[in-house]
Amino acid sequence: MSKTEKKLVIFSELDVEKALKNALQKTRPDIIGEVRESGLKGRGGAGFPTAVKWNLAAAAQGERKFVICNADEGEPGTFKDRVLLTDYADQLIAGMVLAAYATGAREGIVYLRAEYTYLRKDLEATIEKMRGRKMLGKKILGKDGFEFDVHIHMGSGAYICGEETALIESLEGQRGEPRNRPPFPVTVGYLGCPTSVNNVETFITALHIVEKGAKWFKTFGTDKSTGTKLFSVSGDCEKPGVYELPMGITIKKLLETVGGPDAKAVQVGGASGTCVPRKDFDRAIAYEDVATGGSIIVFGPHRDMLEVAINFMEFFCEESCGQCTPCRLGTETLLEGLDMLDEGKCSLKYLRELCSLGETMQISSKCGLGQSAFNAFLSIIENFKSEIFDTRCSCR
């Protein structure tokens, strides 16, 4: 695995114990204030401001409160959390302690996907070690009245459980079907208690911010997308791996870094993201332009883009929880349409109908899965329509 040579934020040096000790000397509003000032947004992909989430959880009334780490990394092309869970587990747990302190939670859960069971043993050893060093348990690092502990809960193989309300359902022993919102988990979450669910990378980034300052963090990135981000790069490039790069980097620049100069398209944001063709490589990867949870998949000049679209749609058909109709039936119908295209049997009229169906899914699906399942379909069809029709119709 290749990591970026430059250590910017997440990969920069940090003394975990010292950082936590310093943080516990600050007041809760100061910590949330620092995170707010930094402009940190959720690194799992949805991009919700972290400070707002923590503040709502802190303000919510509840005898019990929870901090949950979403380590259900399942978006196709994303693997940065795997690297963080392997090499930066102590920072993750410390980040959870920080969140617990800021929100007033005493209990923490790491929801680890079933596919990462092989990481569990080391993660548990890290947690045990941190208990030994008084960074978990009662009176953390000598702080009176502050207690917090963490346990690991294993997932059972469901992409949808990366959605925070589905994740909570799963923790409660239910099918992983997303809930209606509001109420949001920050007020009614796990077991009905105020709960803050954050991504692995978010916890670690927040810890660095509180230790080193929002001002320093904002020296990276753009006005609307501050700081750096981990990118999981795979596909047709010379150096796949995890890279830490400033937000707002153009796709072109990113491709230079990873060695993919002749790419014809890049999928930004995984199956639920957007396919960006070569002509748009000047676009920036940022919340205000092309957003991503970190998944970058590079497609070389020889790739058949319809096959890519089919692969993504098969993924959604399998992973749709089936709870709401637009998503359950919509994904199936879009996949049938792609198969028709593949056989050279799809009229343009029907293709237009499929696109209208996709728009319906975007507005009427209950959660992010159904709302975003059409993105890849649309961006691939729009940008590679002539390639698809030329190759399919001529081979009949």
Binding site: G74, P76, G77, T78, R82, R113, H153, G155, I297
Partner: protein
Amino acid sequence: MLASEREQLKAEINKMAKKCDHHRSGLIPVLQHVQNVSRHISPEAMQDIAEAFKIHPVEVQGVVSFYSFLSTEKKGKFVVRLCRTISCDMAGKEAVANQLENELGIEFGETTSDGMFTLEFTNCLGMCDQGPAMLVNDDIHTRVTPEKVADIIDTYRNRFGAHVTHGEHA
């Protein structure tokens, strides 16, 4: 399932359920345990679990059917899960899939007649930079090539020969 085996499993289920005060949040860990020891969750086990948690067996079945790592059909001692998502697909998953079928003599979705191996596709394993990737039970294998498939399968076959019980492999 032998009656005594069922009794033993039932005792384990009740013990685990008691530990979490029979609260529903303890259900999935119990299901994962049953899946691990008996390689599936039988109708009898579902009834025992339902009783332990004081819920209807249908509730239990609803949860089992939802998750891809839980199953009502008996799986092989070793479950081979090959990643079918785009990056592994582009890295040559099809050739690996083909060779897995050749080595095991079964198709995807099937279990070998000796009950040793189940072959499945799975979605993204988070090893996109090192594809094609596959899991064998909890072990991850990366950069798998068709030539490597036989060796990987043999390691598990031999371990099985040494009477390793399920769950100790990782």
